[in-house]
Amino acid sequence: MAELWDVLSEHFSEFSSGFWVTIRLVAISFAIAMVVGTLVAALRVAPVKPLNWIGGVFVETFRNTPLLVLLFISFAGLRRAGIPIDAWVAATASLGLYTAAYVAEALRSGVFAVGKGQIEASLSLGLDYPRTLRYVVLPQAFRTVIPHLGSLTIAMIKNSAIVGVSLLALGDLLHQARLVNSRTFATDEVFFWAAVGYLILTGLATVAVRLLEARYAIRR
């Protein structure tokens, strides 16, 4: 038991820096996922067939490819191709675009839940299609799919650990835990504290989603 606390106090700086890197990684990727996901959802519900098709290809490609493969392509692959991509860019772009595919699908289901009548009403008032999306459909769609977006964020926190075992040495929580483990060989203790770190993050995200849900969500 004493050793459990020793591992934490002696290596606190490693753990806490990993913790913050994971938070930063998730925060940036979350922003990318929301922006790109919204754009792709707009493409998928647009009244123009080719745009639907482009959105569909994006979603099916990024949703069905393993994140580890995306990380390999975006980092090792592009570097070998002569594009000097930064490790942070590769990591956040991979995690962000991977999640964006799911965000797009969630928003699309939210858009369908808004109902055709509102879209028709808005168009008949003279708003064009982008404005209809911007002022009428998307605000409601977002509120409908808050629970979905919440579980996607939690999934993203967990998926960020994959970055830590790939070639990109960003020093996130799992990466730091492996580092400390390789120095101390106190596997159980090190992984216990890393687990606590991840459970804190997923737990906080769960609570945040519940609060948002209670405040804004629309039940349909």
């Binding site: 979603v59 099916e60 490609t61 949703r63 069905n64 490819t65 393993p66 994140l67 580890l68 493969v69 995306l70 390999f72 392509i73 090792a76 692959g77 592009l78 070998r80 191709a81 002569g82 799911y102 699908e105 969630a106 699309r108 289901s109 369908f112 799919v145 629970p147 979905h148 579980s151 996607l152 939690i154 999934a155 926190i157 967990k158 998926n159 960020s160 650990a161 994959i162 830590g164 075992v165 799992l174 492996r178 483990n181 596997t187 159980d188 992984f191 890393a194 687990a195 991840y198 459970l199 997923t202 737990g203 769960t206």
Partner: protein, 269 residues
């Protein structure tokens, strides 16, 4: 773009045994996925029933178990098991693994990967199943009880057939995620498609007198393998679902809530 589509950068696909080498690795992924799926579904059902049990201590323990495993990163679980699992577990696995399994699955190391996949996915699937069962009208269970069925009989004949049918789309998307997650076992040095891809693109092919296999093209190819398989899987499940819905008169609504079912819920609307 020139680099990406340059024919000489794709020559590796048709030369030597490169393609075969990759596909053999991919087969290992599919096999690991198949084993993990079977155990995750079975164990997930046990956990879901445990969580719904009327005995308070049972539902409490099952609840904590599920919440811990599904909130940890899968790669974290796999890594920890690979580092900390007692050697006797690996040996026990080697003793019980059937002889007809492929060579990559014979070693005890792969057990950490499979166990990790099952621990994580059974917890996620348990939540999906629980949501499916809870989405049923209470009256179903009460009616079943009032015609004299015991609790196991209610589950077997009334609640599970309806509840589990509702959670099919969500479960299929989780299984697609599981299929993608099999690439994570490459981290604990199991020879599957990611490892084979790295071997190919390490310059090894040129070293033995063949053509070079650039890492970008190799991993795009691996990504396509997964896209094709998973896309086919999701289409298949959608077709089955539409058929089922016609047969049952469309009463079964998909269960909403967890990571991957978003997609299917949107598609089937």
């Amino acid at each position: 773009m020139d680099y990406l589509f340059d024919p000489s950068n794709w020559e590796w696909v048709t030369t030597d045994n490169n393609l075969r080498f990759l596909l053999e690795g991919f087969l290992v992924n599919l096999e690991i996925a198949a084993i993990a799926i079977v155990f995750s579904l079975a164990f997930g059902l046990v956990l879901a029933l445990g969580r719904l049990a009327r005995l308070r201590p049972v539902s409490l323990v099952a609840g904590i178990w599920v919440d811990v495993w599904r909130n940890l990163p899968l790669i974290f679980i796999i890594l920890y098991l690979a580092l900390a699992m007692p050697a006797s577990w690996a040996r026990a696995y080697e003793d019980v693994v059937p002889g007809f399994f492929p060579e990559a699955l014979q070693s005890g190391r792969v057990f950490a990967g499979i166990l990790g996949l099952v621990l994580y996915n059974s917890a996620v699937i348990a939540e999906i199943m629980r949501a499916g069962i809870l989405s049923l009208d209470r009256g179903q269970g009460e009616a079943a009880a009032s015609v004299g069925l015991t609790y196991p009989q209610q589950l077997r004949y009334v609640i599970l057939p309806q509840g589990l049918r509702r959670m099919v789309p969500a479960t299929v998307s989780q299984l697609i995620t599981l299929n993608k997650d099999t690439t994570l076992v490459s981290i604990i040095a199991i020879e599957e498609v990611m490892r084979h891809g790295r071997t190919l693109s390490s310059g090894f092919t040129a070293f033995v007198g063949g053509v070079t296999a650039p890492v970008l093209q190799v991993f795009i190819f691996i990504g396509l393998l997964f896209v094709v398989t998973n896309f086919a899987l999701s289409r298949l499940s959608r077709r089955l679902e539409v058929r089922e819905r016609k047969r049952t008169g469309g009463t079964a609504g998909p269960v909403a809530g967890l990571e991957d079912q978003v997609a299917l819920a949107a598609e089937t609307r």
